[in-house]
Amino acid sequence: MEKVITVKIAGPAGTGIKSAGLLLAQVLNESGYYLKDYSEYPSLVRGGHNTYQVSFSVNEVYCVHKMVDIFVSLAKNHWQEHEKEFTKNTLVFADSDGKTDIPLREMCGQLGGSIYTNTITLGLISYLLDLNKELAKSILKKHFGDDSININAFEAGYLWGENNCQKIATDKGGNKEKKIILDGNEAVGWGLYKADLDMFVAYPMTPATGLLHFLAKNQDEFKLKVIHPEDEIAVASIASGASMAGARAAVGTSGGGFALMTETISLDAMAGLGVVYYLSQRPGPATGMPTWTAQGDLLFAVHSGHGEFPKIVLAPGDWNEAYEFGKLSLNLANKFDIPVILLSDKNLSESSTNIKDFTSDKAEIVASNKVIPGKRDKIKLYNSYEHDEEGFSIEGAEESKKMADLRLKKSKEILKEMPKVNLFGNDKAKKLIVSWGSTKGAILETLREMKNREDFAFLQIRGMWPIDPKVSQIINAFSEKILVENNATGQLEALLKSQMTVEFTKRILKYDGRPFFPEELKEALND
């Protein structure tokens, strides 16, 4: 099997770790590799301890690995935190810090500034991985401009590698299909755009902010309005008003902001307004750990909004699904005129992959049938009170029950449109892994790397609500059922149990702000 190689760069915030990482990803992409990346950073703008890591291979790689092959520290005292990620073969570079000594600051001094450590590092890594130097330089030139000192910095790093190190063995060739690099936020943005988004409203909140930035930057090309109002309550209200006026509208936030939007979820359900709520999770409660990952808001999303009404919760597990569900969410919100929650997390939203270029694809657009002002439709009152079909308030026993039934009845139709589960691996195996959302990558990567992969099947649930009660038939056909979730309480299990009879024989839960890595998942599965 072809080898997966993992490179990690660490250093304080503000040293350009992420931008160097993304440039490296571009070079790897154009060299024909499949890649996944992942960044860790504290909620700070300067200082702290940031990392960027990328895993790549000539074949599909589903998530980053924990154990690294090359580690470069841009400043002192950074590699020490990562010793657990080193094997005996890991190449560790740091400036006068007890490891392979690369004089980054001295080289920067010669270049005439202190900000080139990241590009020097890129040169070194390109040498070590035997990447095409001219290709790398052309990508740098596109990014920095022809005459940038960064080109010299890259050369210096590359030369230093030539003089002091040996290249490591890498697989060559690989995939020639044109691919684009994007993170989960951007994938969702493309999906929404392709499904004819008219208005995106958001208040910044990590890890969903990237979607706001992406759509704001592209608003002219995408022909949409991007609004950043005073708070998340206004965000949701503006989107709902826009929906009433006939716009295809979406909002973006994380748990804290979503909490403020829940009254509007309820309004949308009552008034019959389709709005997409993109909820990218981070660890809570409260402000929690803003820049880390979690799957702690599944039940919150499913139960959001007061009262009883149908809503949709979709959970993409990877970038392709983030794009597909971006489209689907807007279509379903408009088809059923209800709120749709698109549930992601930091691990998916802020990590990147390279993926088949879908930017010129055409998407199916499902329009809302509701009447709207300005189109000579029959006038209607959209109403947050219980109302009759024209929108007038009602309180009678029979008529109010009738309207409640009319709303709830939609669930059956909705269920038909929900994305089906994915069943991976050996469906005759004894053991079934059950999970949802971004853990998909780590689980698939673990199974790919495992010698005893034939012992396992993996069920990925993608339509979280309404949930198909028939899922239990799939689960119950296996003798051992293993729950994998990035939360402390096993929310998927609770959700399944509220709708069907299932029992899990083992639970693998992680809730320290970090995603699952294949190395640790392998151990836990074989435990």
């Binding site: 008219d198 208005m199 409203v201 309005k225 609004i227 109002p229 005073e230 708070d231 309550i233 206004a234 209200s237 503006i238 989107a239 709902s240 008003g241 826009a242 929906s243 009433m244 006026a245 006939g246 716009a247 509208a249 009254e263 509007t264 309004l267 008034a271 002002p373 300005g374 189109k375 000579r376 006038i379 209607k380 009152l381 959209y382 109403n383 947050s384 009170y385 929108g391 007038f392 308030s393």
Partner: protein, 205 residues
Amino acid sequence: MTNWRSGVIPTWCPGCEDFIIYAGLQNTLAKLNMDQDKTVIVYDIGCIGNMADFVKAWGIHSLHGRSVPTGVGIKLANPELNVIVIGGDGGVYGEGLSHLIAAARLNIDITVIVANNQLYSLTTGQSSPTTPKGSKTKSTPKGVESVPVVPLELIKAVNPEALAQHVSCLEPLKVAEAMEKAIKHQGFDLLDLDQLCVSFGKQLR
């Protein structure tokens, strides 16, 4: 002439000055010959918001305090629509005050009409952000401790270009005139109407 009445008989208390606001709006919409298909009224929650059922126009009876951002969303989505927001002092100056300030700063072309009865009336008479200091209400039997919000000064402070008017329902003709001026105004405008709640607010006027 366009009919702006839904046919639902208003449910306000006999003598409530919300009737004056309702009549003023009906007359103004008719007088300005507004395009009924392009006029959207957003109602807050409260006694005045109940007007939603009594008017024949595109409408959304939104949530308490959220009428202004809902109206902003409608206007942003389709700038050709005439958007009128109607709410009480509780909804617009209390629960939704930050939205009012934001809309005024944006100078978005919507009209906000507030039936300011200095009370939360639909919930049977608690103090509101405009209740005078010291007033005894159901939620403040020992007297209100805060100084009241002064809507016109607030709007002028955040955006001198916005139109901010104050009229008493004791002068119904002026109410209609002010509505006409407000609806015609390009950019953000607030019309604060002194409105008596006959059931819970007699001691306030």
